[in-house]
Point group: C2
Chain length 417, copies 2
Amino acid sequence: MGSEERIRLVCRECKESYPLERITICDQCLAPLDVEYELGSLTIAKTSYESRVKSIWRYSELLPILDRRHCVELGVGLTPLVRASNLGDSIGSSKLYLKNDTLNPTLSFKDRPAEVAVSKALEFGDRVVSCVSTGNLAAAVAAHAAKAKLEAYVLAPFDIEPEKISQILAYGAEVISVSGTYDDANRLATLASYELGWNIVNVTSRPYYVEGSKTIAFELCEQFGWNPPDNVIIPVASGALLRAIHRGFEQFRDLDLIDSVPRLFGAQAEGCSPIAAAFKEGVSTLRPVEAPKTIAKSIAIGDPADGRYVLETVRQTSGSVEAVSDSEILAAIVELGRSEGVFVEPAGGVAVAAARKLIHKGIIPKDDTTVCCITGNGLKTPELILHEPSLTRPATISPDLGALKELLKGRSPLLHA
Amino acid sequence: MGSEERIRLVCRECKESYPLERITICDQCLAPLDVEYELGSLTIAKTSYESRVKSIWRYSELLPILDRRHCVELGVGLTPLVRASNLGDSIGSSKLYLKNDTLNPTLSFKDRPAEVAVSKALEFGDRVVSCVSTGNLAAAVAAHAAKAKLEAYVLAPFDIEPEKISQILAYGAEVISVSGTYDDANRLATLASYELGWNIVNVTSRPYYVEGSKTIAFELCEQFGWNPPDNVIIPVASGALLRAIHRGFEQFRDLDLIDSVPRLFGAQAEGCSPIAAAFKEGVSTLRPVEAPKTIAKSIAIGDPADGRYVLETVRQTSGSVEAVSDSEILAAIVELGRSEGVFVEPAGGVAVAAARKLIHKGIIPKDDTTVCCITGNGLKTPELILHEPSLTRPATISPDLGALKELLKGRSPLLHA
């Protein structure tokens, strides 16, 4: 069976099936489309992974690119899984791990969906790609567009961090700053996709785009020696990441590569937590947040496209969705840096702060194997640390030993005798 | 043969040998000591690497940590090797590659020596580690010290970038800012090591510290399928990195894992290029640069400790040392971002600018396999890009389609019809 027949778009609701074209929504019922793979015809040996390419393309049977020559390659994926014993001791988890996706090429997990989406744009014959973004996706799309020799345009809310802008500009993309929220920029992007025919990867290529993120689940299966963890905690913005990770585990289970799917937990910032609110209330419809207010800008999506499906997924896996405050996020950033040597942007702090809550509440047992998905690097938001009053500022001294001794006076572990 | 007998410190000049203790200089002739491995007793099968740990510790037989339990692990190494066809087309190389070491845990190659040095500090029973640094090593040592639960102090020249300070603070280390150059801070560090008994990893543990960097050579051997590249271009500060990479290739050659050692090229910024100057003059002694002046602060060492050995090494491998101007460095940063989607700090630009020169001059043949070592991430120096006048600034529009169409007026590829 060729890839063309084996891989289809399928309606998430009515299950109507379509070929892999540039469509995102079911003709029949207007529900979103997902890429589905005929897994019955597929056998994958675990040992085959030993000799595969060291990037997300090692999972190519389960990605929607038909011709390998269209795959753009920046070295995405296979990010470190780190045992976080120090942090685990502090928050009461005996088997805590970090999936450090801050070490993707543009320093966030967004390289995964962007690498797939820009490859699909090549397959579609596009010359231009675009996205709507709080900054991380923009950098990822811009870098991949550069490598693929495509023009790139980014729609972003006006208040994204200058560091994220520096990345996008360095990759040669044009930044169109929208005076409004992410949701305002997103509505404009949807209009632009119809009126201007843009390939806005997280809008018009969304079924393909989201496929990239499930490689996190595949990697966790490999990195845990095919015994997946009990719990995975995932920052939630649109909800696409959590849903993709769930689909990844399900696909590896359906291929008999693993036995079971972990409990999945969503983590949001209190200042923009429509999914956590709906979970708490036990409902399935979301009340959009009009004016998000949180330091976790990269996940500040007030009207999350996949919100309903996140609720379904966490309920199905016996997980939950937690909200954490900005001060809990900042404390988690500092604690993660000091205990594990991992520097994250607020979205990463959200996952760690949620882990602390979930373990404290007993929702996650202390001896479970628990993974926090660390999604974006701290160097994308250095101001938060430079202005954090709890940290010691650098002291300046003249280059002589007297000045150094004076500065260190009374700190015994440093001194001879 | 146990590790204790198989691994020794050996004087670089008189070859006197010592056990693995906390010494850096030969008693007999005051020359620096290197870690040497009895390779005759060692057989390593290439296939054994398929199942080894996915970090620098896969090379543990050739690293100076005696007890595996002392190894600190942040997920260092196995960074992507990326084929740079677009950049290669532009600079006239048909087989150009980037070794993207900006994707180590603290976003520079310095995680390699820091991971080994902090592990050795654990082996020595230290409670405190320190370093003298232009910022990258400081972040690497701070992160590893956090993971290893050691206190960390950093001596740095006062003018290092705030982004680098944010990293160091996030990892919980104390920054001691020295009002002077790197060389001033380095002299103070040397005094402090004697007077205060500090373990300043790149001074008092230097023989161990430098061992980490040779893992770049080991990885290149693996990533090129055991056929090493013809040329490797390496940014040079103290010179330790270039020398370590050379030793790595030599050791794999001596183990019959590869046949030959590549030509090695050093790259310096014109504003601080004592080694390039000595190479050009054909001499072996360096004139230190009193007041370095370059945007490439992370390699601005006026009095490089291993300068003489860099000259020896590049001459021995038929390489050279090139100097490039700040404007060439900036142009290289922009070109690398736009052609390959890789965002680097100036030291990375130095390697690419040197590659262009070496190929243009015919010193490196166009059809050779050539690797640029990309050592530090662009998010460590975002201001350079935010203030670069050649780049288009973000335009701000209101969130409506009319405003977007107005902004894009006349850009045909974007519009329908």
